[in-house]
């Protein structure tokens, strides 16, 4: 067994420094939840050019062209971005490039979209300014107004002239179209291929007090892509043009408005889908002979439950992270109701229920997590434990060695006994990781079988779900998964880990040392009950790191 990497959860946050703040910028002292007098929250290094993810591209095109629906089919034709090792989410800006395949797809999509819009008077009218004296003047007005939205900032006069020069080539480029529409079509194609559209470009360079304040349009884009995965709307552009994103209050006001929008629900859903590894649910394949009560659609139902649960906690209940970890309320259809052992009449429709609180509480006791961390026949405490360590505690577990001998046959023993005998033999390399870090986080779930059904016996023996997992700096004695859920919800480092995931997701970059003070502060507030998940997100986007750049770039 290789050495385990420890101490990543709150790396770099132990030290306190003197306070340096800019009262003109968000995140200063005296704000709710603001840093104390001896803690500095600072921006971390980031790239200056973050290409839109495919989902962001699709949402942005819908807004920009004021389409009725996003051009999903076009975006699905884009080659997938490569995975970036060690980064959980799909928006690490370092891995988002434009290669030949994607450039070609952008070209084809631009031509298709420009054709759709300019050959439909109704669609074109949605993005054109009012008629003016001449077609040229109208084209200029279009370039300026549309350009602001496409580049997400006002165009320079040189840029306006560049697009107008292209407009004038319209009659030759599209000889079979009216000259004005042909020109606009070519201009639209260019806007959709412009690097200022395809990337979020941050151009601010003037450093003040060890940070580079972003201009209002750059803040608007960070907000909209962070909270909506889409371009700023008209209200956000107005706020930027009026300079109201220069204060914490202005940013917070916009953030709270945006978090009430349906677009924010998609972002929150996508974040938790990744955090809880919901795509893994698709691999759930219980043995049909052992578990005839579940159908092939069980993985799909489990994923649906997770989505409904998260949306309910975050938005309907304005809940906290603790609620995700400990709430027995969820949503089920008839098949899930059977697995959960609920009495009553259920149909194919999902309905809210409260599960037996003596058996379950929170997302980790729902069937999706449990069944996706199981073999086809038995629960898998090892991978349940690894998941908790890495995703819930931000404690990385080193990869196991190759050629691990197989688990021995049960021979009348419980699943736990088999795993323990195989991985915890005193003096072995395996024991160093499994005994202390992995198994104690997995064994509390032994009350749940391979499909997540509650059980009190295993192979004829009473289930032993007690353990003493390392949570934060302490080993905490728990009787079962219910105790474990409570212990997790009561530990600040667990909440800090959750905040850390949000920081990484909203910034599109890995956690950095500079994020430490913010993450620690949010962890404490979240644990103490002072922050709902919505509040936590608002804290991140109003923080020093979100509205400023580090003076140096991410290499």
């Amino acid at each position: 067994m290789r050495p385990v990497l420890l101490g990543l959860a709150l790396g770099g946050i132990a030290g306190c420094e003197g306070t340096i703040h800019d009262p003109e910028r968000p995140g200063g002292p005296g704000t709710p939840g603001g840093p104390g007098p001896t803690v500095v929250e600072k921006p971390a290094r980031s790239v200056r050019m973050a290409r839109l993810t495919h989902a962001q591209w699709s949402s942005t095109v819908k807004e920009l062209l004021r389409l009725d629906a996003p051009p999903t089919a076009l975006a699905e034709g884009f080659r997938a971005d490569p995975a970036q090792s060690g980064f959980l989410f799909d928006n690490d800006a370092r891995a988002l490039s434009v290669d030949e395949a994607l450039w070609g797809a952008y070209q084809r999509a631009a031509a298709e979209l420009a054709g759709q819009v300019t050959t439909s008077a109704a669609k074109l009218a949605r993005i054109l300014p009012a008629s003016t004296a001449s077609a040229e003047e109208r084209a200029r007005a279009f370039v300026e107004s549309f350009g602001l939205r496409a580049h997400r900032r006002p165009l320079t006069s040189e840029e306006v002239e560049g697009y107008l020069a292209l407009y004038r080539k319209g009659p030759q480029a599209y000889a079979d179209m009216p000259a004005f529409e042909g020109g606009i079509r070519l201009v639209l194609e260019a806007f959709l291929q412009s690097p200022h559209f395809l990337y979020r470009v941050e151009r601010s360079t003037e450093a003040r007090q060890e940070r580079v304040p972003l201009d209002d349009y750059e803040v608007a884009s960070r907000l909209s892509y962070g909270l909506w995965g889409a371009m700023p709307d008209d209200a956000l552009f107005t706020a930027a043009s009026e300079g109201t994103l220069h204060s914490r209050e202005g940013v917070a006001t916009q953030a709270r408005r945006m978090l009430q929008d349906a677009r924010a629900k998609h972002v929150v859903e996508a974040f938790h889908r990744t955090l809880f590894d919901v795509p893994r649910y698709a691999t759930i394949r219980p043995s049909p002979t052992r578990f005839p009560e579940v159908t092939q659609r069980f993985p799909e139902y489990a994923a649906r439950e997770n989505t409904l649960f998260v949306q309910d906690v975050v938005f309907a209940r304005q809940g906290r992270y603790s609620d995700l970890l400990t709430s027995p309320s969820t949503f089920v259809n008839d098949e899930l109701a059977r697995v959960y052992g609920l009495s009553g009449t259920f149909t194919a429709d999902f309905v809210p229920v409260t599960l037996n609180s003596r058996e379950r509480k929170g997302v980790l006791t729902q069937v999706g997590f449990l069944a996706s961390h199981a073999t086809s026949a038995d629960p898998d405490p090892i991978h349940r434990g690894v998941f908790l360590s890495e995703r819930i505690l931000c404690r990385k577990i080193g990869a196991p060695p190759a050629n691990i001998p197989p688990l021995p046959a049960p021979a009348g023993r419980t699943n736990r006994e088999v795993v323990a005998s195989h991985t915890e033999a005193p003096g072995t390399a395996c024991a160093s990781c499994h005994s202390n870090l992995i198994n104690p986080l997995g064994f509390p779930f032994e009350n749940f079988d391979a499909i997540g059904r509650y059980r009190t016996t295993d192979n004829g023996h009473p289930v032993n779900a007690s353990a003493s997992p390392l949570i934060g700096d302490d080993n905490v004695q728990v009787r079962d998964a219910l105790d474990l859920a409570d212990a997790l919800a009561e530990d600040a480092s667990v909440h800090a880990c959750y905040a850390r995931h949000w920081v990484e997701y909203l910034h599109g970059r890995p956690f950095a040392e500079e994020d430490g003070p913010l993450v620690e502060r949010l962890g404490k507030l979240s644990k103490e009950g002072g922050l709902s998940i919505v509040d936590l997100v608002v804290e991140v986007v109003t923080s020093e790191g979100f509205v400023n750049r580090h003076p140096e770039e991410l290499p």
Binding site: P82, L186, A190
Partner: protein
Amino acid sequence: MKLSRRLMLKGVGGAMLGLPLLESLMPRVAHAADSGALPYAIFFRQGNGVAAAQNTSELGAEPERFWPRTLGALTAESLSGRALGVLTEHRSRLLVVRNINMRDYNYGDGHARGALQGMTARGPVVEGAGGGSEAAGESLDHRIGRVLNPQQRDSLFFYAGRRGGWLGGPCISYRSSGVRKAALHDPWAAYQTMIGGPGGLTPEAREQLLVRQRSVNDLVKAQLQQLQKRPELSSSDRQRLDLHLSNVRDLEVALSCRMRADQELLLQQQAPGYDSTMGDEVLATAKLHMDIAVLAVACGTTRAAVIQVGNGNDGDTRYRDPTTNQLMENFHYVSHRRTSHDSSGGIITGSDLLHHQVDLQFASAFKYLLDRLAAYQMPDGKRLIEHGVSVWYNDLGNGPAHSARNIPYVLAGSCNGFLKQGVYVEASGGGNPNHNRLLNTIGSAVGLRNAAGGNLDDFGDPALPKGVLSELIA
């Protein structure tokens, strides 16, 4: 009149792709290709090892089902009863190499070690990172592309199988240390990438498109160049901008290399099943990728293509057992002989035979590639298969032990006489790592050279002994 290379291409036996018909669309660079046969390499990657002779704790002694029976000349007899027997009719063009050993780098996972080292001959960026690993260097297909391809176009990197999964899905092709290439997944999108524009256009429409695109490209290039001038950009930003800018170019060459309209339609209709866990669909997708790769090397638009089947441990694909017509457990389980991605699941009865069945299906897919290449007759009278080398290789020597030794390498085509043919040879080096020297040999065969103008000998980890495997060279 000088005829273009592509107009001279002839299909044999009716199994051929459409060829460009209009001489007027032939760019000069394509004519340049006529003067000589340009060697290429097409790599076809299988994961999880093969059903070779081995002792496993699950099933005991498993017999040899993959390698030829004897070293030396390949005969119908030496291939009979083995997975390679599927390739018997191509045996005169095969070079089967045993004793290719990878270095046992500490990737923290055998699949990561094999998959990420396979095309790069490099260790990990960070040791012991397991499923979060990255290779610390460029892959050979990318080197061939950036050095030998017209306009330095990217090599073609295809991925067949369900997206995501172990090692993030597509994981074998690298631009540089820690920087993966994105894969072409959807065959229709891959085809359009290869031809450099939308499919289904008339020649006149393509001409108009090129004129319009040139105008837009000029504006986009100017914007990208302005951004490049900004001194505050990081090296990461700059690299991505450079890559972007390098692709904003006119692609008349590629636009004239395409399938016939009816074949384009067929490809478009077949393509949607690509994101699949069903082995039949996954390998059907790989064959569509092969169609595109063959057309690309025939036209000279690329000198390197690599087709990855399944993610880092091909852990999502379920191949079909022809004896029962049922889907097997996923290939990773089968290769472990157990119903789990590690050693915790129950033993799969007969999984050694199932692994062999998977090997046979990969062999059949490789044969499909060779059949396609052999169907093209080139202006010099040879078949396209002779001009290049096609490589069917694996990440591992076997499944349960995840061995880094005796990695299967089956080469087909001599690269215009550079490589030996029709033999089963043992690579030199004893039990030491020599996989990097195999990649150097293939790179040399395709035309890569070292700084002194000799055979490529320094590709991969500089800490490994340099050189080629001369016993593979004719």
